[in-house]
């Protein structure tokens, strides 16, 4: 059962630089952007993208954080205690272009929850989605506007994104998880 590294620190850095360029290219009015990171690992990714955009376009754009626990549709099936983290959107979202940032796009349900949360806070001009990894297996019609790496995977595999800010190291790894039948 070996862990396979699919992105190194250098890969992640280059990918985030590329996504930052794409965000600037797609959004002509960079000043109107807000990046919103979804807890936990979307938050450091959003900050890194904002730093890149400031480097490339000379514009400092606001970064917000979003906890989607209160918008999930699976409260009763969660095995662990629901811990709600801090939500902080520093500016009014009305009329803004929001780029949601998350580490892995999987079923799409987190993104659905995040969009519900954002639209409860106002009426953004548009919402885009940036993810580091798209691993497939969507259960609702959602797609990302910016994808770091497409990683077709099996549902039995576990994709772990580790970041300096939360885990002390930058890497993305894939490991097969033993299922209940195997165990």
């Amino acid at each position: 059962m070996s862990k396979k590294i699919i992105m190194t620190q250098e890969d992640i850095k280059r990918t985030l630089a590329r996504i930052a360029h794409e965000i600037i290219e797609r959004n002509k009015v960079v000043e109107n952007l807000i990046l919103v990171g979804i807890h936990t690992r979307g938050v450091p990714l959003a900050h890194r993208l904002a730093a890149n955009i400031e480097d490339f376009a000379g514009v400092k754009i606001p970064v917000g954080t979003l906890d989607i626990s209160l918008y999930r549709d699976d409260l009763s099936s969660l095995e662990l205690q629901p811990t709600v983290k801090n939500t902080d959107i520093p500016v009014n979202v009305d009329g803004k272009s929001i780029v949601l940032v998350d580490d892995v796009l999987y079923t799409g349900r987190s993104i659905r929850a995040a969009m519900d949360a954002l639209t409860d806070m106002g009426r953004p001009h548009l919402i885009q989605l940036a993810v580091l990894i798209d691993r497939g297996h969507r259960e609702i019609p959602i797609r990302a506007d910016y994808v770091g790496k497409n990683m077709p995977s099996s549902r039995h595999e576990d994709i772990q994104v580790k970041l300096q800010e939360s885990d002390g190291v930058d890497e993305v790894a894939i490991t097969p998880t033993p299922t209940a039948e195997e165990g």
Binding site: S76, S77, V84, D120
Partner: protein
Amino acid sequence: MTTEQIKTVAPKPAPVWQHRHILDIDDFSREEIELVFNTTQAMKEVLSRPIKRVPALRGKTLITLFYEASTRTRLSFELAAKNLGADAASLSATASSVTKGESLIDTVSTLEALGADIVVMRHPHSGAPDIVTRYVEASIINAGDGWHAHPTQALLDLYTIQEHKSTLKGLKAVIIGDILHSRVARSNIWGMTTMGMDVTLCGPPTLLPDEMGEQNHHLPPTNIEHNIERALDGADAVMTLRLQLERQQSGLLPSIREYVQLYQLTEARLKLAKPDALVLHPGPVNEEIEIAPAIVHGPQSVINEQVANGVAVRMALLYILAGSQKP
């Protein structure tokens, strides 16, 4: 399966929260209380939004069942449920089949048959909510039972103090008034002690028997002080309790006037506490009896904050409780 495979299965951490019902906080751990505080913080953010509503408890039904009067507790539970997207309904015992003799357990079973996932109840008899839990599947929240407990009030009191002082550990709390008959005092004594606060109780000996400070009286040990000036010395948080005026009729107080002279929290007496001491009151307040009006509306009073925090704390509790219910 090889041993290497076993290693890849991370052990699941034991959940912090251990309750299906909230009957008192005497069996709450420090970690559980901190989980409530952290979740309350998130709920306050929701309450600060233009649309104060999230769908976390959509599809859940909460029913409040009150056999005693209430303004704050009942309303704040109903608002908390609605803010989380749950359906809320309420039943007053005085306007229901209870007046035709329907028993407590039959009443709660009926509420459950009507779809209640959570029943919030207040009852004049200590232990009533505990008995109900043996007969129903719904989660029961005690919103006050007899002299026994009022856990959600204590949690919002603790949260309010914590919000101002950042930590509770080592703080000196004084609770003044009719401690003997107070469920608010009992739940606060448990919560404050669990959080590492130093608790002093103050009141006339008829309303605060000395054995209440001893450990064997179904309470953790506290300091008993019948003299209000000595009790207030160096306090960080001062909680006054409502004096139930019927106590005089039952002979426990010679006169309300004497109580006012000896135990009213006055501005002069409050100066004996720390300059930044907080003043709390669970409400409703008898101004000019247990507390001077200038203090109720003064800068050290957090009485209105307690009410506002009550909604956020109850949202947190409903959310945590619903999250630990079986689907």
